[in-house]
């Protein structure tokens, strides 16, 4: 039995999307398990060319599941209803580079293989050259040398760059990122986020970036969508939502941000008794 979302009308995007430029359209997406437990309810959003959308939510919010549904890689046992129209090529970057890369395949072969699949008829050497070029674009130093590396020989940040190269090899117009920096150290995360930002601008790609971390999302996305328990809570331009959240849950999320609490608190930590907003 479906629950009607109990929210007031969310903050709407004041800029009317140019419908010819809509590259991804999700309409009333509904995902439930075999015995009827809803995991995602009535999710709708649109993405225009070049737009960056951040989907934020806690565990169980359905954000990753929704993203995987766009590519059709959600668990097979789930029942999907609703419309997903992806009018462009979409590629995904996953969270855990350690498991998303085939450990028995050299990273260069992997990227070259993806490239060849999307450029049929091209030779192996062309694919290799393309892969090395992509390695360079994602900031891998000594790309030719790294072509023959095994995944386990690379650091987490490097592996993530390889994954991004693999995604770019499909010449995507939409980049789907599922917590791509959660497993990375903070400095590497900053580098990867900068890389993604640069790529999105240079290639005019649209991007959907899923994360539990509002601060991370805010550094690469201009629009925000908040999810909770499978439902859309609020959506709109990120700056607006953060400055003036319309929904109590969004306010709670923002209030839980430690940097915010520190700014609100003002006092030095040494004098804390019960710090922060309870």
């Amino acid at each position: 039995m479906r629950r009607r979302p109990t929210k007031t009308s969310p903050v709407t995007d004041t800029r009317a999307p140019d419908t010819d430029q809509v590259v991804l359209s999700v309409r009333h997406l509904h995902l439930e398990t075999e015995d009827g437990t809803p995991l995602v309810q009535d999710l709708s959003f649109e993405l225009a060319r070049g737009e960056t959308l951040g989907i934020v939510g806690e565990s169980g919010s359905g954000k990753s599941l929704s993203l995987r549904s766009v590519l059709g890689i959600q668990p097979e046992s789930l029942v999907l209803t609703g419309g997903i129209d992806c009018a462009a090529r979409a590629a995904m970057v996953f969270q855990e580079p350690a498991t998303a890369l085939n450990p028995t395949m050299r990273v260069g072969s992997f990227v070259a293989g993806v490239w060849r699949r999307h450029h049929p008829g091209e030779s192996r050497s062309a694919a290799r050259a393309a892969a090395i070029e992509l390695f360079d674009q994602v900031g891998i130093v000594d790309p030719a040398k790294r072509f023959g590396a095994w995944p386990h020989e690379l650091s987490g940040g490097m592996r993530q760059r390889v994954m991004i190269a693999g995604a770019l090899a499909t010449s995507p117009e939409v980049l789907l990122c599922d917590e791509p920096t959660t497993a990375l150290d903070v400095r590497v995360q900053a580098q990867i986020l900068a890389l993604l930002h640069r790529l999105v601008v240079e290639r005019e790609m649209a991007m959907v970036f899923v994360s539990h971390d509002l601060a991370v999302v805010s550094s690469v996305c201009e629009r925000l969508l908040v999810m909770r328990h499978g439902e859309l809570v609020e959506t709109g331009p990120l700056a607006d939502v953060v400055a003036a959240p319309g929904q109590p849950y969004t306010r709670d999320l923002l209030a839980a941000n430690l940097a915010r609490r520190l700014a609100d608190r003002g006092a030095s930590p040494a004098s804390l008794t019960t710090g922060g907003v309870s």
Binding site: G50, T52, E58, S59, D185, V186, R187, Q189, A190, L193, H197, V200, V201, H212, D213, L214, A215, V216, S218, S219, C221, E222, R223, L238, A239, V242, A243, D252, L253, L254, A255, A256, N257, L258, A259, R260, R261, L262, A263, S268, P269, A270, L272, T273, T274, G275, G276, S278
Partner: protein, 270 residues
């Protein structure tokens, strides 16, 4: 007057081969996880030990807990060196809250049973008062009495971490080490667990050490900060100083790299 915890030139190595292996040429190079670290934690303070993965921060605290043996150096607690084998009283004085709510509690036991066992083994209170003490502990961590008969699988991550905190506090330790205790929790839950730690510090006077990769967490909960990298301490001092004017370029990099909500909202996007 000695500080509560003194870490004196401690190094911890992993992967040391035995003499025979080295003789046969099969010995590998040991990994230096902690490299000649000297650190003092005064009683009653809240210190954050911050670093990226591989910095040695967790390894160092596990040495303090007696979970690994330093290759060199000495760790002193209240002036007394901590041996490899510790008696019950020493064990009691230093407790840890762990990272993974999924395995921090014995799945075959109820919450109440876990807490009762800890109290019973250390004879914290006479047998007749155990019930009341368990209730008191649950109150301390703001958990309802109903969780007492629940098994861990019925609890949320945040609740399990709270039970972990209650378990650690049951022994009335002098030093409480939180080893990435909130990393696996949702953002909203994390904030409430951190508030709980701060509150407990105020009410019980326990000395707190927070091991974390999150700079904001250190600023939020701790008064002092220690920055570690590759097994060494690169910087330490009061939190405000370290974050406002870091002396080490690595610290400055860490601070600069942390994504900030406030900064981003000024930007309008591409």
């Amino acid at each position: 007057m000695a500080d509560l915890l003194e870490i004196d030139r401690v190094s911890v190595h992993f992967g040391c081969s035995g003499a025979l292996a080295r003789l046969l040429g099969l010995g590998g190079d040991p990994v230096v996880a902690v490299d000649d670290v000297t650190l003092s934690i005064p009683a009653g303070t809240a210190t954050g030990i911050v670093g990226e993965s591989g910095s040695g921060k967790s390894t160092l605290m596990r040495s303090v807990m007696g979970l690994n043996r330093p290759a060199s150096g000495e760790i002193r607690f209240r002036g007394q060196p901590l041996a490899g084998h510790r008696d019950l009283a020493t064990r009691r004085a230093i407790q840890m809250v762990f990272q993974d709510p999924g395995t921090t509690l014995n799945p075959a036991r109820t919450v109440g049973s876990t807490l009762e066992e800890v109290l019973a083994v250390h004879r914290v209170v006479p047998a007749g008062e155990v019930d009341a003490r368990v209730q008191h502990l649950l109150d301390l961590v703001h958990l309802p009495a109903s969780v007492r008969d629940a098994r861990p699988r019925r609890l949320s991550g945040g609740q399990k971490q709270r039970v972990g905190i209650a378990r650690a506090l049951a022994l009335e330790p002098d030093l409480l080490i939180a080893d990435e205790a909130t990393s696996a929790l949702d953002v909203v839950v994390q904030a409430s667990v951190l508030d709980l730690l701060a509150e407990l510090r105020a009410t019980t006077g326990v000395t707190l050490v927070c091991v974390t990769h999150d700079l904001d967490l250190v600023r939020y909960v701790c008064a002092d900060a220690v920055v570690m990298r590759h097994g060494r301490v690169v910087e330490q001092g009061p939190v405000d100083e370290v974050f406002a004017s870091p002396r080490d370029p690595y610290t400055a990099e860490l601070i600069a790299a942390a994504p900030s909500l406030a900064a981003a909202t000024g930007r309008q996007g591409a």
